[in-house]
């Protein structure tokens, strides 16, 4: 009697497990399907794709064409340069500003902080007209600088690092004062090392944010020499789409694969950083 109930329970448990895996598999398939389809077609001859066929001789031809006939590598390089500069600038300028808000004493400190906080409410998308006029009058159009200078700092970064710096025990600052450490020394030797996780989170956030910029580069860059990758894909798409889906899919794959690798590689860390920021 006991045996049968135990057996039934185990069957029930096993069928529950099968159901769980089935659900996981279906969901994973739905999520990943656009990738798979894109990757698959990137290896197919364009003529087959145009016929609506998903079969044909698989080859690297589309990738070869993308690398040789389109400036896709140049786009990637541009994005890499711009994103790295933006990331470094955010880390530096936002961290020193956050330092000032936590460890320096000056008039109107809290008020100024609220001013910075307020900028997080103002969407960049609603300010493109004057910003475009500004960079035009500064003769920055179609230049790397136009994609860097307006984004040298980050109100979000200042906010986040201020929170991080506030976690530093005040005793440490006092001890540093007694030892005669200057603010710069304390910033370099204590504040930054102490806030590594927040800095890394900001770095990832800034890099991805810059990498994904679309509207601003589209308005301010006109030549392939400078175009970052999102705008580059837009360009390729508008030139090629009707005729050459294979090339487009290969280009998209070339763009997405590096970020996916970075994501999977950095996922463990990324998770802990994000959770720290959001689930406190």
């Amino acid at each position: 009697m006991e045996m049968t109930t135990a057996g039934q329970a185990s069957i029930r448990r096993r069928s529950g497990l099968v159901f769980k895996y089935l659900l996981l598999a279906v969901l994973a398939f739905v999520i990943i399907f656009p990738f798979i389809l894109g990757l698959w077609t990137s290896f197919l001859p364009t003529t087959e794709i145009a016929k609506g066929s998903l079969q044909g001789h698989l080859s690297w031809q589309n990738y070869h064409d993308a690398f040789t006939q389109t400036p896709i590598l140049r786009y990637l390089f541009n994005s890499l340069v711009i994103s790295l500069i933006q990331m470094a600038a955010h880390l530096f300028f936002a961290s020193i500003a956050a330092y000032a808000f936590v460890f320096l004493e000056f008039k109107y400190r809290e008020q100024l902080f609220y001013v910075v906080l307020a900028t997080m409410m103002l969407p960049f998308e609603a300010e493109v007209i004057p910003n475009f006029q500004t960079v035009r009058s500064l003769h920055l159009l179609d230049h790397y600088a136009v994609m860097v200078i307006p984004f040298l700092t980050s109100a979000f970064g200042i906010f986040m690092l201020r929170q991080a710096f506030k976690q530093i025990p005040w005793d440490l600052k006092e001890a540093a004062d007694v030892d005669g450490l200057s603010h710069w020394q304390f910033y370099r030797q204590v504040a930054l090392p102490y806030s590594k996780i927040s800095l890394l989170t900001l770095a990832a956030y800034s890099f991805l944010g810059s990498w994904n910029q679309y509207l601003w580069p589209m308005l301010t860059t006109f030549s392939n020499r400078l175009r970052p990758v999102q705008d580059g894909l837009r360009q390729l798409h508008s030139e090629e789409t009707a005729t050459n889906w294979g090339l487009i899919q290969a280009s998209a794959a070339i763009v997405v694969i590096p970020t996916l690798i970075v994501l999977f590689w950095g996922q463990r860390y990324f998770k802990s950083g994000l959770n720290e920021g959001s689930v406190k």
Binding site: I32, A126, F151, S278
Partner: protein, 321 residues
């Protein structure tokens, strides 16, 4: 004077031991450093304040200023009209249609992103073999940029060679003109946007689920409740701050949608997906009507500022938690 500027929340300075010597030197050094603070503050805050002033505050004021004028082809103000641009704008049928379309879009994206993201997180929050693999896949759309997403989905939505219509034919369902039918175009951009948002949303929800104390479920198990009851009465209340956080973040991000619209529908068909940001771009940089675009920008900014304010309120609550 100086002490009154200290932030109130900071913990009080610890009492020093009565070694008067070191106390005095520390005091002197402290005083010297504090006199330096002002210069350091200028140095440290200067760059950020400069950039924010030129590229955030000035343009906001300037946009508002321009919205009170008529402008020429170069975006220079010509005739002062007060709030007439706003009056005209809110009486423009196509603008009201854009507002409505944007509303449908953002609510649609936020709703489905939350439901599917929560489902993914709940399913991934089990201790079974190989679960890491599925978690990785669920996070994957985080690594996909706007352009790549648009290209992947454009291919699937393609009326003649797209997989979705082929599937429809295979299942004897009516074929849909995904991006050329006004209703389906909206569905298509919402689907793509939800897919894009899922990776990030999953990650946040997953973190929240993992932080719910396991003892709560153990106690509920002892009390003999089923998992559905536990979801509604334990999980959901415990993660509700995260739920609101994700809702606000997704709403704001969808209000700013531009790349997706630009690549997939260009605002069409017949303005069905002409969302607010895309409209600003078209009116300013295609049609050269800077006054109109500025007015639309201000409306957009007010909407987003209001939502962000709610977010700050929630954030403050979360910090105090």
């Amino acid at each position: 004077m100086i002490s009154s500027l200290r932030p109130s929340k900071r913990r009080p300075q610890p009492q020093l031991t009565p070694e008067t010597g070191s106390q005095v030197t520390a005091g002197i050094k402290n005083f010297e450093l504090k006199r330096n603070d002002k210069y350091y503050a200028w140095l440290f805050l200067g760059p950020s304040l400069l950039v924010l002033s030129i590229f955030v505050f000035y343009p906001m004021l300037r946009t508002f200023y321009l919205s009170l004028f008529l402008t020429d082809n170069f975006g220079r103000p010509t005739v002062f009209v007060g709030f007439q641009n706003y009056v005209n704008l809110l009486a423009t049928k196509s603008y009201l249609a854009s507002l409505q379309a944007t509303g449908i879009y953002v609510v649609g994206v936020a709703t489905f992103t939350i439901i599917v993201g929560l489902l993914l997180a709940a399913v991934a929050n089990q201790k079974i073999k190989g679960i890491e693999f599925f978690r990785t896949i669920f996070t994957s759309t985080m690594g996909v940029s706007v352009s790549v997403s648009a290209i992947f989905w454009l291919f699937m939505f393609n009326p003649s060679i797209g997989i979705l219509n082929k599937l429809a034919v295979g299942l004897h369902l009516p074929v849909v003109n995904w991006l050329t039918d006004p209703h389906w175009a909206m569905v298509a951009v919402i689907m793509t946007s939800v897919w894009m948002h899922l990776g990030f949303t999953f990650l946040i929800f997953f973190g929240a689920l993992q932080s719910v104390p396991k003892t709560l479920y153990d106690a509920a198990d002892v009390a003999g409740t089923n998992s559905r009851y536990q979801f509604w009465h334990i999980t959901l209340p415990m993660i509700s701050p995260t739920l609101f956080f994700v809702a606000v973040i997704t709403l704001i991000s969808s209000f700013k949608s531009f790349g997706l619209i630009d690549l997939m529908t260009a605002g069409g068909p017949t303005n069905a997906t002409n969302l607010l940001v895309y409209r600003v771009y078209r009116d300013a940089f295609v049609d050269g009507n800077y006054a109109l675009a500025s007015t639309e920008s201000i409306v957009l900014a007010v909407i987003i500022a209001l939502i962000t304010l709610i977010q700050f309120k929630l954030l403050a609550k979360r910090v105090n938690y």
